[in-house]
Symmetry: C2
DNA sequence: CCTGTAAGAGAAAACCTTTTCCCAATTAAG
DNA sequence: CTTAATTGGGAAAAGGTTTTCTCTTACAGG
């Protein structure tokens, strides 16, 4: 009877092995592989060939220890289901993988103890820097990152003003949406958004009012509720049941609200975009593409934001000093069908 | 004019610093902190006190180099937007953080080059092991992990049969749903699912048939389409427009289909769950809770699956050998309102 | 008083790589 | 032929920690 096949993992080949096989010292081997030092071209090539043959890969731990740089960063988030943090992560990873940097993802929920644990683990592992993100801009993670031994960058969340943060230009995004409605000839544009306690809500509401004023259109008070489809439904009831003049466009604070609005409009026999145009926010494709008709929505370009954050962190790690403050990155309007075409045309 | 405040990061305190301040050798200091070696209780306590005072934290890189163990694992995924991989990640992280293990998250999309890049970066950084996951069970990642220097565990995806894999018990989940309908007294239970090319589709369909047969109920051919709401709509048309007897329950292959089904039923004036009960699959809360009525759905317990995978990887790293093969973890039915109460009662 | 043992603490090697400095040998210049 | 410069390559230290081995001192037993 055959004995249990216990998987045995071969010892990694070290520089010493390469050097021995090539008949040189480790110093020479190292220099050969790193294009350093002086030696004959043949020696260099022979060492390289040996290393290739052996499948040598330098031990990052040893390199990191020496260089005091681990080519590792930490991403801290409390966005458990990743609606915002995953696109960010994707951008960050994209920007960094080509530099050989890997990313520790740490979900700290809302638990300070967990946050502490993760941060300490990362610092012990000598991450080169940390990117902190969250699921809402105006709340920070349940942990203080202000006096760490490594640079910290905030993305999609904004802490004390002398930190470095990247956020989406919410006002700009809202302007994009409302101006698009204006361009299409809509005249009575309503705004249905989330809870006033979220910083983005009043910000977008102000942009909404500004654009309407600039265009000489009537401003109605934004309807604030929750971020849910159910609220979208109810908001439609409020907008269309009163005796007021009915809107011909609704700019929604997120895609779920927009979805609720569209469904409610259809149930009332109103056509979208024929009678009422709708624009959402977040461009959560899985929702935006499932609405009928597909939802026009403001995209915060989170992957690009992540990329910027990653690159900035990298340059910070490299010793460049960056000015503190908040950088707003532009949003982009993804036009599908729910907003309609120009009315006169 | 004040000069630019260049943030300066203080040198980390090393064991040498602690030893010097405590007036002992680094060897003694190390032993004091690790509860090793012999020394007077006072010496030990004095060293500890010094370390605490200095805020000493051992350099993981140095420890890892020596122990040939980095307390780091890699999670490889191609599920960009993390519907499945994030709950998994959450479970893995949960299981490992208490052991001081951090997780590299690597999204390899469908790109073999990217996969190669990430895997090499992780191996260079001496991860202790790798967990591979994906967004569908029957496809593996675009990269070969079979001859790595570290243990590999698959989660929610199943590769060659002599690997170790954790997957959800799809059949069991489907049984759970259909049996629940039976228990509620539903008699004509339909099944609407995704594309036949996904391995889970025929598996669940078979479980569906089996349960109906066991209960002596009529089996109708499952309707296969895409994973979208739109398909849910269309399936309802097929089910309810023909002259066939109409179903009083629909078991759907995922929550998006279920949502489409529920919306379509409502549009036809059929009440859910009054006239027709609906159960979904995945328990994607953001969808399940937004349907009207809230959707009963099969939950694959992905976090638990991740936890198991993490713990198993850990024991593998520790030298335990585990039997190859696929472990199926049970699903659970999350009952909300769309499936209804017992009809008689 | 002498020897054996145990306690307390340090020296040094090991993990793996990079880099600085140094040495020997060859070549060029005078 | 001597001196200086250059070339090819190695020795060793550094990075921070753990662990084994060794050394010194004190103490108990005879």
């Amino acid at each position: 009877m055959a004995s249990e096949p216990i998987p045995v993992f071969p010892k990694p080949v070290t520089l010493r092995d390469v050097a021995a096989l090539a008949g040189v010292s480790v110093a020479t081997a190292s220099k050969a592989l790193n294009d350093q030092g002086r030696m004959t071209a043949e020696t260099r090539e022979r060492i390289r060939e040996t290393a290739r043959g052996l499948g040598f890969r330098p031990n990052s731990l040893a390199q990191s220890l020496l260089r005091r740089r681990s080519f590792t960063v930490g991403l801290l988030t409390n966005d458990t289901y990743g609606r915002f943090s995953l696109p960010l992560m994707s951008g960050i990873s994209d920007a960094l993988v080509d530099n050989g940097v890997s990313v520790f993802l740490c979900n700290v929920e809302e638990d300070p103890r967990l946050g502490q644990l993760h941060v300490e683990a990362m610092l012990d592992k000598r991450v080169d820097g940390i990117i902190a993100t969250g699921k809402r801009i105006d709340r920070h993670l349940p942990i203080d990152l202000s006096n760490l031994r490594v640079p910290v960058i905030y993305a999609f969340t904004q802490p004390d003003p002398d930190a470095i943060a990247f956020v989406a230009d919410d006002d700009g995004g809202a302007r994009l949406a409302v101006e698009h409605f204006c361009k299409l000839g809509r005249k009575r544009i309503a705004h249905v958004s989330g809870p006033a306690s979220f910083a983005v809500v009043p910000a977008r509401a102000r942009a909404y009012r500004d654009v309407l004023t600039e265009h000489g259109l009537p401003v109605t008070e934004p309807l604030l509720g929750s971020w849910s489809e159910a609220w979208g439904h109810e908001a439609v009831a409020q907008l269309f049941d009163g005796g007021n003049e009915r809107p011909d466009a609704v700019f929604c604070g997120n895609d779920q609200i927009a979805r609720g609005v569209i469904d409610a409009l259809r149930e009332r026999g109103l056509s979208v975009p024929g009678d009422v145009g709708v624009i959402g926010f977040d461009n959560w494709e899985i929702v935006a593409e499932a609405t009928r008709p597909p939802l026009t929505s403001v995209d915060m370009n989170l992957a690009a934001l992540g990329r910027e954050a990653g690159l900035t962190l990298l340059s910070l790690v490299g010793g460049t000093s960056a000015a503190p403050g908040i950088r707003k990155l532009p949003c982009r309007l993804v036009v599908r069908q729910s907003c309609g075409h120009p009315l006169d045309g």
